[in-house]
């Protein structure tokens, strides 16, 4: 096992820059997710790592070896594609055997009919490896079938199998779950995570679905417009986003953003309501205050520091109930999470009061960067809620 380093990778297609100076170190054995909206360059980065695309500048190294000029096959990486990319004319067994044939057999051994006779021992070994992998993935009964005869989930497993047989340094996965239906996708998430734990190999996983990134990865890199905005553990990314774009991208439903200012006491406030305490920042600076839906709750009475909004939509998910409120006379929409039993009789069009329950409000400066909160209150005024 070896770590993978990407050093100052740049890539542009014609005049359009796709990747702007990416530095990324992937630790041996970790599950790293590249996540971002479509067109952010995450797939290009993966393809550069795989060797399918050459970077305009920068170097890729696997272990201690710089692999810029090395052909994809010789990097000993395996890739799983969104469309599975199984060879349609070969059975699943032959599909899984293909990388082994190309790696382990001489030209003579690859010949049809004669090859298996010449390299009988190697063929036996290859077949054993394929069967072993098939057993792990529970696709043994499917080995003789063609990809066209399999369901999406089965093809997904077969594609994984083809990647696994060669025991690569790292698995590269390009949105492998996107073509599955919702229930299967959620099921496969946990299977992939389990597979990663049992194989103990590096996984580099590309997705546009922040839920996949949060649930599976050891670390995730949020990419946007050709840059890595933040790299860290899912917890860290969710609870402590360093950029307003990260805060917006991660979390469903989306974080609530309210415009505000920093007052003379160093508190971020939206209108009259103090929402957070800020460190030494310039007063009266325009800021954006981010509040996650689960950090808000309905206020009982006329509590201090509460906001009012008109209920425009209720989204009932069973365990949770999301209330969509229009605040400040419809200038902003906010989402508040409650439990169905807490809400009582509130109907659409009613005014609802809610307060910040816990957790930090996140304050972002005009440039979109997070403004650090100070450890001690800047003023004597106690923080609300």
């Amino acid at each position: 096992m070896s770590a993978i380093h990407l050093d100052s990778i740049r890539k542009s297609f014609g005049e359009t820059p796709v990747l702007k100076n990416i530095d990324l170190s992937i630790r041996a054995g970790e599950f790293l997710t590249l996540v971002g909206p479509s067109g952010c360059g995450k797939s290009t980065l993966l393809r550069i790592l795989a060797g399918l695309e050459a970077p305009s500048a920068g170097s890729v190294s696997i272990g201690d070896r710089v692999v810029n000029g090395v052909r994809p096959a010789n990097r000993n990486l395996a890739m799983v594609f969104q469309s599975y990319a199984l060879y349609p004319h070969l059975s699943i067994e032959d599909n899984m055997m293909t990388p082994l044939r190309l790696r382990d057999l001489s030209t003579a051994g690859r010949l049809p009919w004669i090859g298996p006779l010449l390299a009988r021992e190697k063929y036996r070994e290859m077949r054993r490896q394929v069967e072993e992998t098939a057993r792990v993935l529970r696709i043994e009964p499917l080995l003789q079938r063609k990809p066209g005869q399999l369901s999406g989930g089965q093809r997904q497993r077969a594609a994984l199998g083809r990647a696994m047989v060669r025991k690569p340094v790292a698995f590269l996965m390009d949105e492998p779950l996107s073509n599955l239906d919702a229930a299967l996708r959620i099921h496969m998430r946990s299977e992939l995570a389990e597979l990663h734990r049992s194989l103990k190999t590096t996984f580099v996983y590309v997705t546009h679905d922040q839920a996949e990134a949060l649930t599976m990865s050891d670390r995730m890199a949020v990419m946007m417009d050709g840059d890595i905005l933040q790299l860290g553990a899912p917890d860290e990314i969710y609870n402590n986003p360093q950029d307003i774009r990260v805060a917006e991208f991660v979390g469903a439903p989306k974080i609530n953003l309210l415009p505000g200012v920093i007052d003379s006491a160093g508190q971020a406030r939206c209108g009259d309501v103090v929402l957070s305490r800020v460190g030494v920042g310039a007063a009266s600076e325009k800021v954006t205050i981010g509040l996650r839906p689960e950090h808000l709750e309905l206020a009982g009475g006329d509590e201090k520091g509460s906001l009012t909004g008109r209920l425009v939509h209720r989204e009932n998910l069973g365990a949770d109930l999301y209330l969509h409120l229009s605040v400040q006379d419809g200038a902003h929409r906010m989402v508040v999470r409650t439990a169905p039993h807490e809400i009582g009789r509130v109907s659409i069009g009613d005014d609802v009061r809610f307060v910040r329950k816990r957790g930090e409000a996140m304050v972002f400066g005009a440039d979109g960067k997070r403004i650090r909160l100070s450890e001690t209150p800047a003023a004597a005024v106690p923080e609300v809620a």
Partner: protein, 314 residues
């Protein structure tokens, strides 16, 4: 199921849903189709019918489709000085045996197979890598090259026949198989057709092959070729039919050596000469020449339609 409805004329499926109700539109469609089929099939009917009848029946236009099959006197046999009783022949047997005896028809058929097969083989050998490069590789001037391919589609063979002939003559290649094959070895139509098909093959599949360690040529023969079988079959039909039936080009480059004649040239053996017209054996020859194509079609038809309806591999 889909190919069944397709092969048995598409309009009938709507009629079936309505429970065989009479419909003017459907009737009209069928009338037009039947008329078209008649126009195409009548010459074949005449060809097969003449190949069965005696010269007298052909001239007098009697005997229906099969003719009476009464023995008649073979004048040529009599001229050779044989006994008249020995020269009485049944029309069918006479027509078909003469077809094989008067001209080395089997040799011509073999030539036809050799020429069409080598043309198709070389065309595929050239067209697949070209099409792959034009569809899937990024290189400078790709669009310009593809433009040239399209441009070449517009050039009629007859316009360049003479220069081609002179070139082959200077190389001393006239009256060889090479002369029959070489001018057709690069098929721009084939390149165009395969390129269009390769455009629909997902890039992921090629990337997967690269990850597995295949070279670009290996990708062409081991990944693209198997997925392109339906398109290749369609191209094979165009190529084989065109070159099996080609009369123009073999007529130009095969001037003396009769052992190199392709089947259509074989028909020349029966053109009217001192012996008078000999339509029976001529039509028998024609029937024999088209038979392999028709048989091949009947066998490949299923595959062909399957290929079109499958259209890809998702």
């Amino acid at each position: 199921m889909t190919d069944m409805t397709l092969s048995s004329s598409a309009p009938s499926s709507t009629a079936r849903a309505d429970g065989y109700r009479f419909s003017v539109g459907e009737t009209l469609k069928h009338a037009v189709l039947i008329l078209g089929a008649l126009v195409v099939l009548l010459p074949f009917y005449v060809m097969v019918s003449y190949s069965l009848k005696s010269p007298a029946e052909i001239m007098q236009n009697t005997g229906g489709f099969f003719g009476a099959q009464e023995a008649f006197r073979d004048e040529y046999c009599v001229k050779l000085g044989k006994d008249v009783a020995d020269c009485m022949v049944t029309p069918v047997i006479y027509n078909y045996t003469t077809a094989f005896q008067k001209a080395p028809l089997l040799r011509y058929l073999l030539n036809g197979v050799i020429v069409t097969a080598s043309i198709f083989f070389i065309q595929v050998l050239v067209a697949l890598p070209c099409a792959y490069a034009l569809a899937k590789l990024r290189f400078w001037g790709r669009e310009a090259v593809f433009g040239l391919v399209l441009f070449c589609l517009l050039i009629p063979v007859h316009a360049i026949a003479l220069p081609l002939y002179i070139m082959l003559a200077k190389l001393g290649l006239t009256n060889t198989y090479a002369a029959l094959v070489i001018p057709w070895s690069i098929s721009v139509f084939g390149i165009f057709l395969m390129r269009q098909f390769f455009m629909t093959v997902p890039d992921d599949l090629i990337d997967a092959a690269r990850m597995d360690g295949m070279s670009e040529f290996s990708i062409i023969w081991n990944v693209m070729l198997p997925t392109a079988v339906p398109a290749l079959l369609a191209f094979a039909i165009f190529s084989v039919v065109a070159h099996w039936n080609d009369y123009f080009w073999p007529r130009i480059v095969i001037t003396g050596d009769r052992s190199l004649f392709t089947p259509p040239l074989g028909l020349r053996e029966f053109k009217g000469d001192a012996d008078g017209d000999n339509f029976g054996p001529m039509m028998a020859t024609a029937t024999i020449i088209v038979a392999p194509l028709i048989v091949a079609f009947l066998i490949a038809q299923r595959r062909f339609i399957e290929g079109i309806t499958l259209s890809g591999m998702k």
